[in-house]
Each structure stands twice: as C-alpha cells, then as structure tokens.
C-alpha cells in the first residue's frame, strides 16, 4: 500500500510516495528528493557513505526506515551543508588538503565530521580518528581526511 509522506530536507518540504514504509530514507532522498550527496555503499550501516544529519545527529540513512522519520525532523544532506559558492569550512579544508580521490566516501566523511565538530569543536587527532573510524574510504585517504578535519577545526 502506497503511503505519502512529507519530510523537511535542507529546509525545504519534500513529498515522497513509497510502497513500503520501511523504505530506507536513503532511497527517498536520492530518488524522490533528487539529492545525490548521500550515496549507497553497503546498505547495512557499515560504510558511512549514506550519512545525513537528522536534527544535527549523523545518521546512516541506508538503514533508517522512512517510517521512523517525522515531518518535524530536520534532515540535512551534503547539499544543505554548503555549496560551491558558499562552501562549509570542511568542504574548503577537504579541497585544501586534497583529501578527495574518487569522492564516493566524501559525503559520509564530511557529514560525520560536521556533526562531530559541532560536539567537539577543538578535537585532538586521536579523537578525530576515533570519530571517523567507522567511515570507510577505499582510496585510502584517511590521513588527509583527518588532517582536513583538524584544519577545519582550526579555521
């Protein structure tokens, strides 16, 4: 049975119709909201590439059923964090440290890091590493990502 639901994503209302209320939020964001920041890497909450913020908390949208998200929850994706013209300080730091290779993990890295820096604005390097340890990057850019987060925290 199709259900229709309205969500708040990046400050805008998004309406989605799904056959199954258990549909992961990731699919709704990508397919219905047309947002390509969050990405599918594993679908099991094991890689982090689908990370978005719900009310400021980093959430793995691939395992978050649509039914668990309310109309009042504020969802923010990479697109809502910053743009080419007005980048978030993490986006700038990632460019400066050239942390990106293929870019596939980067959504998750930035969203995870942004939420972390809100809680811990002046982290140590080991704290950053621990905060990021469940985000996978096959291009092996972890060192630069950690440096970029550190740089952003000092910006």
């Amino acid at each position: 049975m199709a259900t229709t639901k309205t969500l708040r994503v990046n400050g805008k209302a998004v309406t989605a119709t799904v056959d199954d209320p258990a549909t992961p939020l990731l699919y709704v964001l990508r397919n219905d909201a047309g947002l390509h920041g969050p990405r599918f890497g594993c679908g099991l909450g094991q890689c982090g590439s689908c990370t978005v913020h719900i009310n400021g908390e980093p959430v793995r949208s691939c395992t978050r059923p649509l039914s668990s998200v309310g109309a009042r929850d504020e969802i923010v994706t990479l697109e809502g964090l910053g743009t080419k013209e007005k980048p978030h300080k993490l986006q700038t730091a990632f460019i400066e440290e050239q942390a990106v290779q293929c870019g596939y993990c980067i959504n998750g890295m930035i969203m995870q890091a942004a939420a972390f820096l809100k809680k811990n604005p002046k982290p140590s390097v080991p704290e950053i590493k621990t905060a990021m340890q469940n985000n996978l990057c096959r291009c092996g850019t972890h060192m630069r990502i950690v440096r970029a987060i550190k740089r952003a925290s000092e910006a």
């Binding site: 056959d19 199954d20 549909t23 990508r30 947002l35 390509h36 920041g37 969050p38 990405r39 599918f40 890497g41 594993c42 679908g43 099991l44 094991q46 890689c47 590439s49 994706t77 990479l78 697109e79 910053g82 743009t83 080419k84 980048p87 986006q91 990632f94 460019i95 050239q98 990106v100 290779q101 293929c102 870019g103 596939y104 993990c105 980067i106 959504n107 930035i110 950053i128 590493k129 621990t130 990021m132 340890q133 469940n134 985000n135 996978l136 990057c137 096959r138 291009c139 092996g140 850019t141 972890h142 060192m143 630069r144 990502i145 950690v146």
Partner: protein, 784 residues
C-alpha cells in the same frame, strides 16, 4: 616556454563538484521511464540448472519482464564474453555466458534478470523466480583442483588446469647444483576484492529511432565494452556508445567486462525502455571479480656472501570459474619476482587452476605485489640463515644505478624484452633506511623488549611495471568559446586523471586550468581507447595529451601570427590570449583564433591554415616504464592478543617526473593503505562448498582511520627515457612493499620466539598460533 602547471601542486578540477554532492556516478544517471533490474543469482558453488520457472515473478504487480538465457539467445551473435587476453598458455577456454543456461559454476553467477518499476519490486520478484538446481560437487582449493581425482569445476571438462606457462631464463639447474646455500619457502598469498566504495552499475537505453544503444557503465574500459557489445550483438561500432560516468573507485575489478554489462542493454533492447541496475554490496562480494589465492613453492640459491645465484619454484594461481581477463595476473607475479635484483638464473613454473568461485582478475597491483612478496621473503630468509643484516643482503643484490638501462633476460607477456629503464634502486633503499632509523633500531628494540614490548622493523624493495601500452589516444580541441576540450579514452576512476591531463595541456596554453574541459571515458568523443588499468594513464594518455597540446599550441600561435600580422616567435599564450611577448596589448583571444578557422561561407581561411583547431595524438610505446621504490615498516606486536600496530611506515618512490606532487602522494599513500589492509585485515573466505563467508563489510575488513599509520613518502625523480614527459605510473606502487615489509617487521619483532611468517594476510589469531607453534618447536628442539 614556462612550465606553469606541470610539476605543481595544482588543485584538482574534480573536487568542487564531488564535495558538494554534484558528482555524477552511475547511480545518479536517470532517464524518464527508467525501469530497474535485479538479478537472480546462483546460490550454489556448482549446480546444474534443470528448470527455470518465471511465472510467479511475472505476476508481481510492477514487474515488466523476466529474461533468461533463452530470451537473450536470439539477439546474440556470440553468446559468451570472450575477454581473455591472448596467450599460448591456455589449456582450455572457459568464457562466461551472459546468463547461465544449464549450469552455474559459482555463487553469484547471474541466471535471470528481472525488470520492474523499481528496484524494490524487482528484488521481491527475483526471489520468486524458481530455479531447479541439481547440486554438483564444488571445488574451492586451487591445489586440490589440480589433482587428478578432483571433480571438475565445469561439468564435462577434462580437468581444472586453465593454463600453464614458465617464466624462465639462465641455467637454473646449474645455479642450484653448485650453490653453497639453498633455502626454500612455501608461501600462501591471498589478496581479496577491489571493494571500491561505489559498487558496479549499468544503465542502458535503446533508441529505436536512431537504432542506437547507449550504455552508462562504471567500467574502467569503455571502448573495450563498446567493442565487445558490438561483437556480441553483431552490430557495427556507430550503433553503440559506452560512457563511463564518475567512478567511485576502480582498483581493478571495474576494468573487467561483465555479464551485467550485456544483460542490462539486452533487457533495454527487448523491453524498448531504459533499464538501470546498480550492484549492491552483497552482489559485489559474489559477482564482482576478486584476487584470491596464490600458492608459491620457491627456493633461492646464494653464495656464501649472500649473492643470489638463482631462484626457482612453482606457483599455483587460483583462477576462479571463468576467464574474465586472462593469464596476465600470475604472469605479472612471475615476472616481478627478480626485477629489482641481479638474479642470474630463474625458473618459475606457473599453473592456473579453475575453482568454483567468482573469477579472479587484477586488483590494484595486478599480481606484481605477490611477486615482490615472494622475493622479499626469500631474501629475509637468506639474511636470517647467513646472519647478515637484511638490508645488506638486499644491497648486495640490487641492480646498480650504473647499469641502467638494464636489460633483464625476461620477456614480457607480449614477448618484449624487459628493460629496467631508469632509477637508482640502492639509493632508494638507503633513503628509506635513513628515514625509518634502521641503523639505531636494535638499541630501541632491545630497550622495548626489556620492558616487555615487541617492536620490529621490516624492509622491502620493489620494481613495478607501469604504463602498459601500446597507446591511449587523446584529442585536444580549441573551440570558438575559447575553451580547450580534452577528449580521451582513458577512464577516470578517482585517481585525478582529469586534473592530470588538464595540467599537461594547460602547460602549453599559459596554465589556465579553468579554461579546460576534460571528457574521459566516452566512446562518442574519441573512436579508440583502452582505458584505465596498470598505472598507465599518466604515461600513455599523458604523453598523447602532451604531444597533441604541443601541436595545437603551434597551430594556435601560427594563426595568431597571421591575425596579428607578426611573426610566430614574437608570440606567447597567456590568460586566454595569444599576445605579442614584448607588447602584451597586441593580442587575439583564443576564441577569436578558433573562430577564424571555424569557417565562414565564402571567406578564405587565414593564409594556408587548415580548418579547425583540433589535434589528435596516440603516443605509442610497447615497453613498460618501470617505477621503483622501497618501503619500511616499524610494528609493535602484542604477544597476548596478536594485534599488530604499525608505528612507522616510510615509502620511497620513483615515478619519474612528478606531474602533481599532491596527486602522486595521494596515490602512493592510498595504495600503501590498501597494501597494509592486504597484509593485516583483508581475507575473502569461502567454506568447503564454495559459499562466501565474508560477504559483508563487517566480515571483510577494510582499513580505516584508526589503523592507517602516518605514511611518510620520499621521492626520487629519475625521468623515464621512454616517453616525452619522463613519467612512470604511480597508482599501484604503494601496494608493492607493504605486505613484505610488514611481515618482515612482524618476524623481526617476534624474533625472540623464532616466529616465521609464510603467508599474507596474517590476522591476530594466526600470529598467536605462530607464537605458540614456535614455542612448541623450541621446546621440542631444546627440552629443558
């Protein structure tokens, strides 16, 4: 002319889009009316298909079609994916079908494709496709597969030997017969999957008006895919276009042409509707090619000064169930063994064994890391037995700088003589030893041991063939907009290919990177291409881009000279203008120059100039450019838990002239991280029935931020004489020294126990087992 972009830390042109969610990966490709596919895959390692019933699946609302091999047969002129690189070594051909017809030979092999309104429905319906299987014996161990009594991977096949060959030179028998010392090692080397964070995908559309097929595929080799599709469909080339969008990491497996790359277009043709399939992670574990097991039995002969007299042995290489690339992977392993050292005689007998698992094809490094591992393990053994420092043993045997270029008595897979083109191998080793603190390490080690901590240091050298030929064409065009467009068959899969090419071309046009547009991996913009693999893009496409850009610059200046009425040597290019060097105000914009040769009806072209501003070049080079380097690791091993922590990791690298230091370091570090994962974490496991047992990213462990050590990169730039840029490939090199240096370091840390490591990867439980085994061994040898 000044080099303004080449060699500099230029920012990547890829980054702004990728960082704001504007990348366009395969799953971002959309068309109206797009239908979604899910595959029905074999749940068994080996089984006969006796019947397929699709009726229940077809009844699911929202399902458009279910296709099996029988539905595809009428469309296919060739019904197998014939992709094996040519070689006389094959003993049988085992080419993949698009969909299995009457037999499945590995878990994950596609049997049927379900097309539906969305992926959800497609997957639900796929579960309702009823396939009757009759289970057959599956064989997973490459060594057992080669035994006479082994069941065969393919029903009715004569045996499981896929191919065999020798890589050899010199008189090995004599070298060993007279040798003062011979040491033998039996090694198990395992590398797992590519595991790009983005899985594979294919999106296809057939346009009946144009009678043309367009396939977006996350492939590293779009031109090969186009050609193979044409062969299989019996179509000519202009009817098929293959486009590689942004690729979320390649690492080898995406260079392969897959059954899904055919099934999805076929479904789009049959259904007359665009179809999309994006792999999920479980599929990536069972249907995307991997590297797996190699079993080495090797021995080394040395004189009393530890100088190498010869190396010989055998290698059994697991091939998987089908040929998805060929014999290249173990060939590269065999060829790499002796590269860095002077080895007078060598013989490796190689056998490729079929198994009931997903096919084996190259992962970053393509067999070469295993060759280096075998050699480095042997040299550590020599050092231990002869009680000579491990670095000293290597130093005595490395190819000396004065000998470059040094012809190895080896033939490449294509029959070419292997010539080490440039470099200073001993100096690289010295750089690494200095940086890691080799000479004063013993004191630190003893001090640590005194406080109950086990630290160790390890070293490995490598030489890596890069820049696989024969060519990679590049077209450079200056259009009336004033923008420069670079078109290439080289595929970008996250290794900054676009930035690299833009830098090379921008160099000829005053350095303006933002004036350059790169289209990589689209068969519609350039007729030929080979794609991305074997660390070849900077060498092959880079050289072509350079040659094309130089010519385009010449022509641009020649036209400028006509338009401005000055002589050619007065002109320079900068900031989008051709201008007179002495009087920069006298200038013509690049756009105006392009327009002047774009043709106006009835008007003559500027004196004698040919129309248009476009040059195409295909730099041809068969010989490989050999990059080299050395790596050293300092580890600490917890003897209670078996856990290994890498305390230091240094890698020295020579990739010839560096185009962009940031990119080069990123590639080396990324590959080193991959190699560290191969040494300590990654294992693709199967049970006795060839069922994968590590098919999630929770079971198959990738290295993350907490395990990645600080990796220090040192450079030497010995320009390669083999290409106009003097470059060598870099993308895979970091993998090479990682596992051998780490194993050497672990052994060194555990030397008080006498632990010997003859495998990669090694996990904590196995380290503990090795410690216990060594203790038992000691007790037996020396019972108190």
């Amino acid at each position: 002319m000044s080099l303004r972009t080449f060699g500099n830390r230029v920012g990547r042109i890829e980054d702004p889009a990728l960082l704001t969610g504007k990348g366009r990966f395969i799953d971002d490709i959309k068309w109206p009316e797009l239908a979604h596919a899910a595959f029905v895959r074999s749940p068994f390692g080996h089984a006969a298909i006796t019947a397929i019933d699709t009726s229940a699946a077809l009844e699911v609302p929202g399902v458009f079609a279910v296709y099996t091999a029988a539905d595809f047969a009428p469309l296919l002129k060739i019904d197998r994916l014939i992709v094996g690189l040519p070689s006389p070594a094959y003993r049988q051909d085992v080419n993949r079908p698009v969909l299995a017809k009457d037999e499945v030979v590995h878990v994950g092999e596609p049997v049927a494709i379900v097309i539906a309104k969305n992926r959800y429905i497609a997957e639900d319906a796929a579960a309702l496709v009823n396939v009757d299987y009759e289970i057959l014996p599956a064989i997973g161990d490459a060594r057992a597969a080669l035994e006479k009594a082994s069941p065969t991977v393919h029903r009715g096949a004569p045996h499981n030997l896929l191919a065999e060959f020798d890589v050899a030179y010199g008189d090995v028998a004599r070298a060993f017969a007279g040798a003062p010392h011979v040491f033998r090692e039996t090694l198990w080397q395992h590398r797992g999957g590519g595991h790009s964070l983005e899985c594979r995908g294919a999106v296809a559309r057939y346009d009946a008006n144009e009678e043309r097929l367009t396939l977006f595929s996350s492939t590293q080799t779009p031109h090969t895919a186009m050609r193979l599709l044409c062969d299989m469909l019996g179509w000519d080339e202009h009817r098929v276009r293959v486009i590689t969008p942004d690729v979320g990491g390649g690492f080898g497996p995406k260079l392969i042409f897959y059954p899904e790359d055919v099934a999805v277009p076929l479904a789009a043709i049959l259904l007359q509707r665009p179809v999309k399939w994006v792999e999920d992670r479980r599929e990536h574990f069972v249907a995307t090619t991997q590297e797996r097991d190699q079993f080495w039995d090797v021995e080394i002969a040395v004189d009393s000064e530890a100088r190498i007299l010869g190396v010989r042995g055998t290698l059994i290489h697991e091939h998987g169930a089908y040929t998805a690339r060929g014999v290249n992977l173990p060939y590269e392993s065999a060829q790499t063994v002796t590269l860095a050292y002077e080895v007078p005689a060598y013989h490796l007998g190689v056998k490729l064994a079929l198994t009931n698992k997903v096919p084996v094809t190259p992962v970053r490094g393509a067999g070469q890391p295993q060759g280096a591992f075998a050699m480095e393990r042997l040299l550590d053994r020599v050092a231990r037995e002869l009680r000579i420092d491990r670095a000293e043993v290597r130093r005595r045997n490395l190819v000396a700088a004065e000998k470059m270029p040094y012809a190895k008595p080896l033939k490449s897979r294509g029959g070419m003589q292997v010539v080490l083109d440039s470099g200073n191998y001993p100096e690289m080793q010295r750089m690494v030893l200095d940086a890691v603190g080799w000479d004063d390490f013993r004191a630190r080690q003893l001090a640590a041991r005194a406080s109950g901590r086990y630290i160790g240091l390890g070293l490995a050298n490598f030489v890596k063939g890069t820049g696989r030929g024969p060519f990679e064409p590049v077209t450079v065009r200056l259009g009336p907009s004033g923008k420069i467009h670079i078109m290439t068959g080289a595929a970008a899969m996250g290794q900054s290919t676009k930035t690299m090419l833009a830098q090379i071309v921008a160099d000829q046009f005053g350095g303006a990177m933002d004036n350059i547009v790169v289209t990589a991996g689209d068969t519609a913009v350039i007729p030929m291409g080979m794609g991305g693999f074997n660390s070849r893009q900077a060498v092959m496409a880079g050289s072509s881009a350079h040659l094309a850009a130089v010519k385009l610059r010449e022509k641009t200046i020649a036209i400028g000279a006509k338009l401005l009425n000055v002589s050619i040597d007065e002109l320079d290019i900068d900031a989008g203008f051709v201008h007179v060097r002495a009087r920069p105000k006298i200038a013509a914009s690049l756009g105006d120059i392009a327009r002047s040769v774009a043709g106006i009806p009835g008007l003559a072209l500027p004196g004698g100039i040919a129309p248009g501003l476009e040059t195409s070049e295909a730099f041809v080079r068969d010989e490989m450019a050999f990059a080299n380097g050395a790596g050293a690791a300092e580890v600490e091993v917890d003897t209670e838990t078996g856990e290994v922590v890498i305390r230091k990791f240094v890698i020295a690298h020579d990739c010839g002239r560096v185009i962009n230091p940031m990119i080069v370091d990123g590639q080396i570090i990324g590959a080193a991280a991959h190699g560290i994962g191969n040494a300590l974490f990654e294992w693709m496991g199967f049970d006795a029935d060839c069922q994968p047992i590590t098919a999630t990213l929770a079971d198959y462990i990738l290295i993350t931020s907490t395990e990645t050590p600080h990796i220090e990169v040192l450079h030497m730039e010995s320009p390669s004489p083999l290409n106009p840029l003097g470059v060598k490939g870099v993308g895979e090199c970091g993998v090479m020294p990682s596992a051998p240096a780490i194993m050497s370091a672990i052994e060194d840390a555990l030397s008080p126990f006498g632990v010997k490591i003859t495998r990669t990867p090694i996990m904590p439980s196995e380290i503990l087992a090795a410690i216990h085994a060594a203790r038992r061994e000691k007790l037996r040898a020396d019972p108190l």
